[in-house]
Assembly symmetry: C2
Homo-oligomer: 242 residues x 2
């Protein structure tokens, strides 16, 4: 299947559902056959990324490489990973991969730059912050990164793990407060630099779409662009959700 996109997901499963849903709702389609072809691995036994980076937990790399190979074997011509923290291993995964890969930090930063905002808030996992996946890119572009303080970052992390355990409502109330605090600290826009966060803040983003850059949405839009170039179609992205 020409243009088949492989999704290395399951980190976590709810974030992978969100990505898949955005592929369907962002594509201007009149019938099933107009949609983007996807092969999705949601095999969630990949060791916890934050735990590996911050607590010397088991590395997720060998398992990710294994599932990435499954996607290649199934014919994927481009592979994406709906998990920001996992992008710490992006270069190593890219080395073991024989097809194109899109990087969620790059697709997100491209959208941040287009907004021309200077003060960028960041909601992400402890590990994504610790590895400075976003901060480096934000500073390279002469922008200011506004992060939660240590106590508040612990609450961000608590909210993410609450979603992973199925408690959306409590996760939402905690995360919404953290977004408000970043705006109060001067953030003009907030990067949702963990793919669980747009799931948690779905209602808030619907009400105030101009205040957030959702890393999952940026990855989906870039993937649809990639597909359009690969198969020679145009204008597949609907205006409804862009």
């Amino acid at each position: 299947m020409k243009g088949l996109i492989g999704v290395l997901g399951g980190m976590g499963p709810a974030a992978t559902v969100d990505l898949f849903n955005k592929f369907v709702t962002f594509t201007a389609a009149n019938k099933d056959q107009d949609h983007i072809p996807l092969i999705i691995s949601s095999i969630p036994d990949i060791p916890d990324r934050t735990n590996a980076l911050l607590n010397h937990g088991m590395s997720p790399l060998p398992t990710m490489e294994n599932y990435l190979k499954k996607l290649e074997d199934a014919g994927a011509e481009c592979i994406i990973i709906p998990c920001n923290t996992a992008h710490f291993w992006f270069l190593e995964l890219k080395k073991s991969c024989h097809v194109e890969m899109l990087n969620i930090v790059e697709t997100t930063m491209n959208e941040v730059i287009l907004t021309k905002k200077k003060k960028v808030g960041l909601l992400a996992t402890n590990a994504t912050l610790y590895m400075e996946l976003y901060q480096k890119a934000i500073e390279e572009n002469d922008l200011t990164c506004i992060k939660p303080n240590i106590d508040n970052q612990n609450l961000v992390m608590e909210s993410i793990y609450l979603l992973k355990s199925g408690n959306l409502l409590l996760a939402e109330s905690i995360m919404k407060k953290q977004a408000e605090l970043l705006f109060a600290s001067g953030a003009e826009i907030i990067v949702l630099g963990c793919t669980e966060v747009p799931v948690i803040l779905e209602r808030e983003i619907k009400n105030n779409p101009e205040k957030y850059i959702d890393s999952t949405s940026s990855l989906v839009r870039a993937s649809i662009d990639w597909y359009e170039k690969r198969v020679g179609k145009h204008n597949l992205i609907t205006n409804k959700n862009s």
Copy 2:
């Protein structure tokens, strides 16, 4: 991966998102790693099933067999298809498949029988009705099947294709009326025998869950049961959505 479930999806993509979402929300999980392992094919170039059965359109069987093989090659130990109409080819697919397959008509009928209701309404595609996928099973169980009349069935079909083209709101208003008409005709419960219909009627089902048997939900619950037996876990289905 022991217990890996393969999803032959993309018929249509929105219905496959709905199935995936139900796997995540129906599973009692405390962390990513507790979720059901899935490999999902959402490659939507499979020829339209209703068109093949009613208008001598191209058969979807060879393409379905091809994608089913991809799922087997990726290590799937059980395969499910979130499309009722595609189950017309279930026996042929099963012949070409080397692993277990669960049949959505069977999983749905098992849940219908448990309700002990006698008059069963049916919302499904023209092709599913024409091939009598559900009517036979309903009558074999000494139940009465209540279907829309021809004009109303055309509206059901219109609603399904509206969803496939991204117009959820219009699809919903048409389908809700058809459900009301089936209840007015004496239906005690309605089988949503097309996986697009629970997507279209999501709000109505949330308000009146006891009035509907959702074929997608039944397939997910049966798949979680299969997984529990395969890996020796128990009580993975959360009460929240059962």
